[in-house]
């Protein structure tokens, strides 16, 4: 992936993650992504969702501490205290996050389809890529611990990122409604 592409991806991912958590009333602050990531001593909730397009494929991974997942789940309403509810809340968050990223990449002529989000609870994890691509790691601090996001994509030889074109971006923004 070219460095110019990486800059755009990084900006889009960073702003999308911050906004996605902000609507859930959790303020995140982008921070330096230390390598390797510090382990979660309390375990973690990990979600992943694939993306696939004509010229790029990849996976978005999101990791949070269990108590952060619990807080997000409880905010949905009664019944949010079970681990199944925590996983569902995080899976839906990753779905919304990748949708937001997709919407923000459309003005650059980048498009892809979303897979189905999966979430799992784990005592710890490590990531391994078989693609040889550099994984884009993003770390965010919050009052409930760090949030980690990895955007692991492979672009094909015909992949092109166009200059930002606002006029071509008729994407319906998050939270908006259109009646026909």
């Amino acid at each position: 992936m070219g460095s110019q592409h990486s800059v755009v991806f990084d900006q889009v991912i960073e702003s999308s993650v911050v906004d996605c958590f902000s609507v859930r009333e959790l303020a995140l602050c982008p921070a330096e992504a230390v390598r390797p990531p510090a382990p979660y001593a309390e375990g973690a909730i990990l979600t992943f969702i694939s993306l696939f397009g004509e010229h790029l494929t990849g996976t978005l991974l999101l990791a949070v501490r269990p108590d952060l997942a619990e807080a997000l789940s409880l905010a949905v309403g009664p019944g949010g205290e079970t681990q199944a509810a925590h996983l569902d809340a995080l899976a839906e968050l990753s779905n919304e996050l990748l949708g937001r990223i997709k919407n923000r990449l459309l003005p650059y002529g980048v498009t892809f389809q979303l897979g189905l989000p999966k979430a799992l609870a784990c005592a710890g994890f490590w990531l391994h890529t078989v693609t040889g691509e550099t994984r884009r790691a993003h770390r965010f601090t919050s009052p409930r611990g760090d949030v980690w996001v990895w955007f692991d994509v492979v672009v094909g030889p015909d992949f092109r990122m166009l200059p930002f074109d606002e006029s071509s971006a008729k994407c319906l923004p998050e939270g908006e409604l259109v009646l026909f």
């Binding site: 949905v76 319906l172 908006e176």
Partner: protein
């Protein structure tokens, strides 16, 4: 008993939030976990509206809507798409299938409720 609305989404948290937004206004909210589940539940139920996600296991939202539109018993049902997608090409495709409204997640409950009221009154 209020008007019946079917929410089709594989996320339990979304189904729960939609129910909370509508039931307080007197709607009866039924739930389906994906397109196949919805197609099994729709016949024989006097629905006023379907709220459907797009990215779901087993049968996507757009495929489900196509099947609803090709069935004489269900082709008249108003449908609101509630999805993370804001892609204009997808919106145009859904519009061709007769979808009445499109809303991008995360949704504002009061905005969803106003759309549901409008669509169910029009029906």
């Amino acid at each position: 008993m209020g008007k019946k609305v079917l929410v089709v989404d594989d996320s339990s948290s979304i189904r729960q939030r939609v129910s909370a937004a509508l039931e307080g206004a007197g709607f009866e909210v039924l739930a389906a976990v994906d397109g196949i589940d919805a197609l099994a539940k729709i016949p024989g139920t006097s629905l006023a509206l379907i709220i459907a996600d797009l990215n779901m296991p087993r049968l996507s939202g757009l495929d489900m809507i196509s099947r609803i539109r090709s069935d004489e018993r269900t082709k008249h049902l108003p449908i609101l798409v509630l999805t993370t997608e804001g892609d204009p090409e997808l919106i145009a495709e859904a519009r061709k299938l007769g979808v009445k409204a499109w809303m991008v997640k995360p949704f504002k409950p009061e905005l969803l409720l106003s759309a549901v009221k409008k669509l169910t009154e029009a029906g």
